[in-house]
Amino acid sequence: MLFNSIDFAIFLPIVFILYWFITNRSLRLQNLLIVVASYVFYGWWDWRFLFLILISTIIDYSVGLGLKKEKKQTKRKVLLWTSVVVNIGFLGFFKYYNFFLDNFITAFSFFGMEIKASSLNIILPVGISFYTFQTLSYTIDVYKHKLEPTKDFVTFSAFVSFFPQLVAGPIERATNLLPQFYKKRTFDYSKAVDGTRQILWGLFKKVVIADNCGEFVNQIFGNSADLNGSTLVLGALFFAFQIYGDFSGYSDIAIGTARLFGFNLMRNFAFPYFSRDIAEFWRRWHISLSTWFRDYLYIPLGGSRGSLRVKVRNVFIIFIVSGFWHGAKWTFIAWGALNAIYFLPLLLKKSNRKNLDIVAEERVFPTFRELLSISVTFSLTVFAWIFFRAENIGHAISYISEILSSSLFEMPKFVGMKKALKLIILVIGVVLMEWTGREGQFAIQFIETKWKRPFRHVLYYAIVISIFWFGSRLQTFIYFQF
């Protein structure tokens, strides 16, 4: 079920009413309702893959209990690895089987050896990368004694399958989300209003910005061989806003929806395009994944401690794995590697934690130096996005080559220029709104306290109307494919 679909628009109020009016007297019943609703939400796409979630839930629940009982370290390790192998096994099979097979065949054929193997027609279960990482965080935290395992299967199922963030995150830590299922939730009016506002902003970013940018992105990336450099730059810029609008929009809707049910999910985006260096960008972009990799991969590998070789190795591992997490394509790996190259100088100069504050905090305008840093970081990010969006490495290279040619100085030329111009104005509007609201959790959060009611309502109506205006042609969320 998509957040921007009528199915969800019907589903959400039904679950909301059942949750607060029918099951509100029993915590267990509320959790059970969340499980049922989440399974309906997921099964709406393809019910067969519910079994994967169920298996994953049963295994991690059992492993959690086993880890509590077991005192011997070797047996505990066996239990942990059982969970890791099963979860990563599912992910590996559904997401990476064909990639590895194809590359093995290519590699062997390079040495003159023919391998006869046919790739499988595997459907990628929606959100598998998200819930796999979420359940793994539980097992690892229980293994590390950071978390008490739950004995309540219903609660654990609700944690694994919680529908607002099941298919595209934020990837929640068991330490944050699981305890919230133990406590009785009470309806908080201001939280619900704030959540609704966040849903509205998320929908706007998805439906108005991302989907419209997506139209031009498809056109420009699909015909890049026939277009000039300046048009390709515009295509890359549109993609930067498409992916941001799409993914941060989804996260906003997820977080806002969870708030309607009395849950606080972790923040996933913190205005990443206002970052002053790449390190800051990665602290602000897809925070739940970056911190997951930091806590469960980077730090166990040694992090930024150790020799230069170890530091370089760890940075490349974490960024390449992060790229590969996005999909079984060399373009994602290249995107990850490129980000590692961006990040490494900052780490080696020990300036990767320089920009921890909010840019131009309590000021309206940034300084020239801040503006320059933001522009450089944004340009580097957009450049990397070309690899992320390209069909293959060759496509990315030819795309970049054309950008670097003299055609960069020609006027952009593609179908729908007038519409694109309107879209650029909209994007600028969103950027200004986000800049104004960058000290909050999401862009329009501040208006509650800083804008008078009539102005607030004008903005809300404008957002709702534009969602209706642009939203009737349904588009899926990019991040579902990951």
């Binding site: 009528i6 607060w20 309806f187 009016y189 619900a192 209003v193 609704t196 309502h457 809300y460 109506y461 709702v464 109307i465 209706f468 205006w469 642009f470 939203g471 009737s472 042609r473």
Partner: protein, 300 residues
């Protein structure tokens, strides 16, 4: 919580009202397809000649030029699937039907289902591709059908008026090689994408021909004239393949094919490179009428 729900409802109410008004106007808007469906519902029993196909036939065949009571059921981008399914639906009530003109153009055998228009067939004719659900379109034609932007744009325009299902368009524009190239390129992309549809469409067409023949209705395949700038850009391999197939099907079922693809007409008869205007439609319809009259004569 009740306060939250009440405030939300109050906030949404004006939007809902505006939306319902727009939905009402969208449903009331007299689209050409709505007019065509209305005609079929009311007068299907008097139709003697049925014209099917895509925009080549919907623009280029004027039903008022025929001696028989003709009705143009073709629609822009209409694939064979809908030609056939709409006819099947109304066939029991088409008690006077004698001839069916089936448009066979460059791309007809490869034509896929234009998803963007599926909702129209489902809403107006009650015909869905592979019985896909039409619940959403029935729920809101504006939101799930046309889309709010297109719907409001449409509502601002005066609807066309059709005569026996036909809308004659006047004027001539874009008669040049580039326009021809672009148009053919569009169809070539469609053909390339849907090569595997050919078999499906052939089976569908032949079973339709059989059905018509069983009811003593004469199917006639027709290829409408297109301008030199269009024809000169066609992929000759596809044109030959089409001809070979059409020839074989005509032989197999003893039916005729009116092939006017390269028929020469003055530029003033063309709306653009592959469509006839009102004048061209009149000329060609009279020509087709002559052929049908000759068939009538030989049948009598």
């Amino acid at each position: 919580m009740k306060r939250y729900i009440a405030k939300l409802l109050v906030f949404m109410l004006p939007i809902l009202i505006v939306f319902l008004v727009l939905e009402y106007y969208t449903r009331s808007y007299n689209t050409v397809m709505k007019q065509k469906q209305g005609y079929l519902s009311k007068k299907s029993n008097s139709i003697e000649l049925l014209i099917l196909g895509n925009s080549h036939a919907s623009c280029g065949i004027d039903p008022t030029q025929f001696e028989l009571h003709a009705y143009n059921g073709a629609n822009g981008l209409q694939p064979l699937y809908y030609d056939i399914e709409i006819t099947r639906k109304y066939l029991p009530s088409m008690t006077s039907l004698k001839y069916v003109l089936i448009s066979m153009d460059y791309h007809s055998l490869y034509f896929t289902f234009p998803e963007a228009r599926d909702f129209m067939y489902s809403y107006y004719y009650g015909v869905s591709y592979k019985k896909e659900s039409s619940i959403k379109t029935n729920f809101s034609l504006l939101y799930f059908g046309y889309g709010v932007q297109n719907g409001i744009y449409m509502l601002n325009k005066k609807p066309y008026t059709s005569i026996n299902g036909w809308v004659g368009l006047q004027g001539t524009k874009n008669l040049n090689d580039l326009a021809g190239k672009k148009r053919v390129a569009l169809f070539d992309r469609m053909i390339e994408k849907n090569t595997d549809r050919k078999k499906e469409n052939i089976e569908r067409l032949e079973s339709f021909i059989l059905l018509l023949k069983q009811r003593n209705i004469t199917p006639i395949l027709i290829t409408m004239p297109c301008h030199y700038f269009y024809n000169s850009n066609l992929n000759s391999e596809i044109v030959i393949q089409n001809r070979v197939y059409i020839k074989s099907v005509c032989k197999k079922y003893s039916i005729s094919h009116l092939d006017y693809l390269y028929y020469k007409l003055p530029d003033s008869c063309y709306l653009n490179v592959d469509h006839l205007n009102k004048k061209g439609a009149k000329v060609m319809s009279r020509k087709i009428n002559d052929h049908i009259l000759s068939l009538e004569g030989s049948n009598n």
